[in-house]
């Protein structure tokens, strides 16, 4: 398949996913649910905690307790709201991502819609297009929630700094990269499963099993601990204290994981009877 055609079709699939978010009832429900979750997080967690984070005594305690781990670096974000958003998102979004992106291919395959599409597009383009579409949708949701966080910060401080906007852009880039392997993982399971619910169940069970087996292996063979570094999301703990654009060097592992998972998804869909 020519590269131009592939890119064009990926763009078309991404546009459809964006339309699904903004123009369909299900998409609007997703937006509403996201807005409600972030409203409660911002109103009852991030806003009050931001006040606490600014207290000098708390900052001293945090540095004393977690200085060795580098967590005091969290205090260096230009706004405490961004610090809390960063920590919450790094932990929450990968989990939500599994549920949110579970229906990339399975619904269309079960309904037969993929039969119409596969007469006009290669299965590689379908896999990459749906994956990119999900990333674009998640980027929209991240940007919306980050904007709300910046607004809260601006209201509290009375202004908004360029450093805060730059930090928000860095956070959105990092979060998108963090979500890539999880989204690709769901591409794999949705290419395999007959329904999004089954895809989600398989993903949770598989991740649990792999972590369980690795824990057992590491208990008996401590040298195997390095394997944990290759699990999806393994870089998250290193990311928490990270600052600045140079922290994007941690992106290599999730990008490589994403590439491998997408290759597996492409192989599964290519062999699947539609």
């Amino acid at each position: 398949m020519s590269m131009m055609l592939l890119l064009r079709q990926i763009r078309l699939f991404s546009q459809v996913e964006l339309s699904r978010l903004w123009l369909t009832r299900r998409g609007l429900m997703t937006l509403a649910a996201t807005a409600v979750v972030w409203f409660f997080l911002l109103r009852y967690a991030i806003a009050p905690a931001s006040e606490i984070l600014q207290e000098p005594n708390f900052q001293k305690s945090l540095t004393a307790m977690f200085g060795m781990l580098g967590l005091h670096q969290l205090l260096n974000w230009p706004a405490p709201e961004l610090t809390l958003y960063w920590m919450l998102s790094l932990i929450l979004l990968p989990i939500l991502c599994l549920a949110f992106t579970a229906n990339q291919l399975s619904g269309d395959a079960a309904r037969g819609t993929l039969r119409f599409i596969s007469l006009r597009s290669s299965r590689t383009a379908i896999v990459l297009g749906r994956f990119c579409g999900q990333l674009v949708v998640q980027l929209c949701l991240i940007l919306l929630s980050l904007s709300a966080t910046l607004i809260i910060s601006a209201v509290r401080q009375g202004s908004i700094s360029w450093q805060a906007i730059e930090a928000a852009l860095l956070i959105s880039c990092h979060l998108l990269i963090v979500l890539m392997p999880f989204t690709a993982l769901m591409t794999v399971f949705s290419a395999w499963a007959r329904s999004s619910r089954l895809a989600l169940s398989l993903a949770i069970v598989s991740l649990g099993l792999v972590f369980g087996l690795l824990s057992w292996l590491i208990y008996h063979q401590p040298d195997a601990a390095f394997l944990l570094k290759y699990m999806p999301g393994a870089q998250i703990w290193q990311l928490i204290p990270a600052q600045g654009w140079q922290s994007l060097q941690l992106a290599a592992l999730p990008l490589a994981q994403t590439a491998v998972l997408l290759l597996i998804a492409q192989q599964i869909l290519s062999r699947r009877a539609l």
Partner: protein
């Protein structure tokens, strides 16, 4: 010189131990409208799925327009109405068909115009913005069929195109296929023998995974007439034996067989008499028998199933 648009050679497909298609070979030439007939479970949908690239064959080869099924070169050239496939209920049918048009390489404006054209073809012109989930079964079927006409496909595969449609819409779809067959080749699967007889000039008959018959409607030295006599409304039911006896006395008649419901199949030699049908009508009039239907040739049903029925009776 023939120009095969579909070439299938020694095709085999099994599900587990059950061999659904067993060494199927056939060719379909450009411009032909071909019927695919077979009982439930005969392998029609499997053959369709293989030709569309939805399934992989166990062995054998297939070529559509000289390309492997599913090849990029076939995008926009081969269209299909798969059985039971549905459009996404979350989007309007116009949006989805436009999307398909754009995947085929059309610009946004051209895809919109093409969508409106194909929706008008299936009598859904006013439903561009209607969501697929809000359509009736018949309308959804027609919307699915419309996607097969986007662009200018050279080959259109239709699996049960009129199943679930009301008679008026089924007739409309038959007329549409008939019109479009001037520009594209069709492979049509259906249980409606009457429909296939009207539309198709070639028949593929699948039975137990094998191609039992593969022929164009033949030009034989023996011609056939299908006759049905009228009953009721003042017309007395004619005695079948007597009808057969009277018809056999006509010049050129080779065989007369009586079926159910006052139906008769007459085989004759056209070279013996030019005006055989006139003489047959005169015979009917002389005996006071009114006819309900008289058509030239054997019905497709007779061609395909009469021998099987006879074999069943004899056994």
């Amino acid at each position: 010189m023939t120009n095969p648009i579909i070439k299938v050679d020694q095709l085999v497909k099994s599900y587990g131990r059950h061999r659904v298609l067993n060494n199927i070979s056939f060719e379909i030439n450009k411009g032909e409208t071909v019927a695919l007939i077979g009982q439930n479970g005969a392998g029609k949908t499997t053959l369709f799925s293989l030709l569309c690239g939805y399934l992989k064959a166990d062995s054998g080869s297939m070529q559509l327009l000289g390309e492997q099924p599913g090849s990029q070169a076939l995008f926009g050239k081969v269209a299909a109405l798969p059985q039971d496939a549905q459009l996404d209920p979350a989007f309007s049918i116009g949006e989805q068909l436009s999307f398909y048009g754009k995947l085929q390489g059309l610009t946004t404006r051209a895809a919109r115009a093409e969508t409106e054209r194909v929706l008008a073809l299936v009598d859904l012109a006013g439903h561009y913005h209607t969501k697929a989930g809000a359509l009736s079964h018949g309308m959804r079927k027609r919307a699915c069929m419309a996607q097969a006409f986007i662009g200018s496909p050279a080959l259109i595969l239709l699996d049960e195109p009129t199943a679930g449609l009301d008679p008026a819409n089924a007739l409309h779809i038959r007329e549409l296929i008939s019109d479009l067959s001037q520009h594209a080749s069709f492979l049509i699967s259906s249980h409606n023998i009457f429909e296939l007889e009207r539309l198709c000039n070639k028949v593929l008959y699948l039975q137990d995974g094998q191609l039992q018959q593969h022929h164009a409607q033949p030009n034989e030295s023996t011609a056939h007439l299908s006759l049905q006599l009228a009953t009721g409304n003042g017309a007395a039911a004619a005695d079948a034996d007597e009808v057969c006896q009277q018809l056999r006395q006509l010049a050129g008649v080779k065989e007369v067989t009586a079926g159910r419901n006052q139906e008769y199949q007459v085989s004759y030699q056209p070279q013996v008499v030019d005006d055989f049908d006139i003489r047959l009508l005169q015979c009917l009039a002389a005996n006071g028998w009114q006819y309900k239907q008289l058509s030239k040739g054997k019905s497709l049903e007779q061609q395909l199933f009469a021998r099987k029925q006879a074999a069943t009776v004899l056994s």
